[in-house]
């Protein structure tokens, strides 16, 4: 992707999560779609307010878990029945009760890894650069005690002057323009 230039968006700063959520909800109602909230800790309403949608991490976790289970169980079956059939205390070579524990462990392991890496793959992390860090108040406050709403320039409704006035109607602490 070529480097973008110009305005990334307008960033409004709030002191409380409640104010952020109310602003975000209103913006979403007014038709904004390219917008995002930034909070120092998870605020579920903020996600709901901007149209939180389901992601595929649960599905990836399920598939990963099932694959781990199937892989381990088949490996044990292959080892015990075909590759190295051993007579252990006269038990049948296909002794499935003994296979359950490792298969279970692999289910957990693969589900966990799929969740972690699936999450990273789907949310685009780790990301080396994000334009919002150009805003000094974002750098200082986003991980401590400030709550931000960003209306992005990619939204067709975006207009530098009108959007700034629109954001100011929510009475934020400040509204700043963020460059790419």
């Amino acid at each position: 992707m070529p480097a973008r230039e110009g305005t990334y968006g307008l960033l409004a700063e709030f002191d409380t999560p409640g104010d952020l959520v109310r602003a975000a909800r209103k913006a979403r109602q007014d038709g904004w779609r390219r917008l995002d909230c930034y909070t120092p800790y998870p605020v579920e309403e903020a996600a709901e307010a901007i149209g939180f949608h389901r992601n595929r991490v649960p599905l990836l976790t399920l598939i990963g878990g099932l694959m781990g289970c199937a892989a381990m169980f088949s490996m044990e079956t292959w080892i015990s029945v075909l590759a190295y059939p051993l007579n252990i205390a006269g038990r049948p070579t296909y002794s499935w009760p003994a296979f359950i524990v490792p298969a279970y462990e692999w289910t957990i392991l693969f589900a966990g890894l799929s969740a972690a890496f699936g999450m990273l793959a789907l949310n685009g992390l780790p990301s080396l650069y994000h334009p919002l860090f150009n805003a000094p108040n974002f750098r200082d406050g986003a991980t401590t005690d400030k709550f931000f709403l960003c209306l992005e320039a990619l939204d067709p409704k975006f207009d530098l002057r009108e959007t700034k006035a629109y954001l100011e109607s929510f009475q934020p602490v400040s509204v700043v323009e963020v460059e790419y």
Binding site: T16, P17, G18, V21, V43, L62, P97
Partner: protein, 424 residues
């Protein structure tokens, strides 16, 4: 922008809604109908053998709800948490049904000889000669005589009942007293109930282990498993949570639960129940795996009795019913947050617990071990427990009506009245 308060207020009327009487009536009707069915089945079968076996199943269900409810009550006093406030009064009502469980148990005590081989056999040598018992059973019965004899059975059970009654009485009295006290004393009350409940859980674990060993495990005098008490303990958590969630979700159709039942706590309770589904199969499978690996002649016949002769079908269904289905359903966040669906899962889990007990109880008997077959008697396993549990539910509804269903003198009340996520 000023912070607005969105907190709801607790309704003035906190007693159980009137439809609880409807539940009671329905439970009584079902109880009577199934009692009649049980009587007809006993007539068709020509014996009351199966009535008594199924009676043990019904006893273990009622016992699980009542005394398991007491245990869960103690657990939530120790852990705290808003979920505990939601099910506290239903759990108290469950624990107060202990007298009915005692009545159910009396039947088992009086009919001990028909249920327990060790009670039936007085003279081991003569019984061995007559072919009533085999050599393994003779050895086990003779060796375990100091523990497995009618007097010890009765005294240990009575002692257990006395201890449970003491805890039930104490916690129920204090629970009501706490509400009439001033809020300034709340921290003291919390500590006090915690101090009673903590040791109570330990005492409960020991007494209930003794009870299930006598009432269920000793039906097969040859077998033993050190995880048996824990298996029942976890099983009780499984069915008690299912029932308590069922009650609070059903109560939420009207005030006051309509106000205090939030999706967040419902979700928490669902997750808690999910943990018990996992723990239950974990212990059940661990016991099987250890005994299967050891493959010792003292232990393995217990499983063979329950696998061979078509019992394999039942154990497979048991695995599907009481682990796979609840596990798969409770994995879903949506189902845990949906009242209607969570109610269905809870109902299913209660059925699955009874099904599991059927698999545990019936193969203890000579005619059924390694030989699953149809008789009119086996249908008693449906009729008798349904009737017994229905009467128990009616009694529970009566108890639920006796006091307000929400504890007011608790800091969690204020929290539970806040909107779902306190931040917004």
């Amino acid at each position: 922008m000023a912070h607005e308060t969105h907190a709801k207020t607790l309704p003035a009327e906190l007693s159980a809604p009137s439809f609880v009487d409807g539940w009671k009536l329905r439970a009584l009707v079902v109880g009577v109908i199934f009692s009649l069915i049980a009587a007809v089945l006993a007539f068709l079968d020509g014996s009351i053998e199966h009535v008594l076996r199924a009676w043990v199943l019904g006893l273990m269900m009622a016992f699980g709800f009542a005394v398991g409810g007491l245990a869960m009550l103690m657990v939530q006093y120790c852990t705290g948490g808003k979920w505990g406030l939601l099910i506290r009064r239903p759990l108290e009502a469950m624990s107060r049904t202990l007298p009915l469980v005692f009545v159910y148990w009396l039947v088992v005590a009086f009919e001990m000889k028909r249920l327990f081989l060790w009670a039936q056999v007085n003279d081991v040598a003569a019984a061995l000669k007559s072919g009533l018992i085999n050599e393994v059973q003779a050895h086990a019965i003779a060796f375990k005589r100091p523990m497995l004899n009618p007097a010890t059975f009765v005294w240990v059970s009575l002692l257990c009942f006395a201890i449970w009654a003491l805890y039930t009485w104490r916690l129920n009295v204090l629970g009501l007293k706490r509400d009439s006290d001033s809020p300034a004393n709340t921290p003291r009350w919390i500590k006090k109930l915690e101090n009673i409940s903590g040791p109570g859980i330990v005492v409960y674990t020991l007494t209930m282990t003794a009870a299930v060993i006598y009432w269920v495990m000793s039906m097969d005098p040859t077998w033993y498993s050190s995880v048996y008490g824990l298996l029942f303990l976890v099983g009780q958590g499984y069915m008690v949570l299912a029932f308590a969630i069922l009650v609070s979700l059903s109560l939420s159709k009207a005030e006051p639960f309509k106000t205090i039942l939030r999706q967040t706590e419902q979700h928490d309770l669902g997750k808690f129940m999910f943990a018990f589904v996992m723990l239950n199969i974990y212990l059940g499978f661990a016991q099987f795996l250890i005994i299967w690996s050891g493959n010792l002649p003292e232990e393995i016949p217990w499983y063979l009795d329950r696998i061979r002769g078509h019992w394999g079908i039942i154990i497979t269904l048991d695995f599907i019913f009481h682990w796979l289905i609840p596990f798969a359903l409770l994995l879903s966040r949506d189902i845990k947050r949906n009242k209607k669906r969570l109610v269905r899962v809870c109902q299913w889990m209660i059925f699955a617990k009874a099904f599991d007990l059927f698999w545990l109880i019936e193969p203890n008997f000579k005619d059924a071990a390694r030989n699953l077959h149809f008789s009119w008697g086996i249908l008693e396993y449906v009729a008798v427990p349904v009737a017994m549990v229905s009467f128990w539910v009616a009694y529970f509804c009566m108890q639920l009506k006796t006091r307000p269903v929400v504890q007011t003198n608790d800091p969690h009340v204020a929290e539970i009245l806040e909107p779902e996520h306190a931040h917004a």
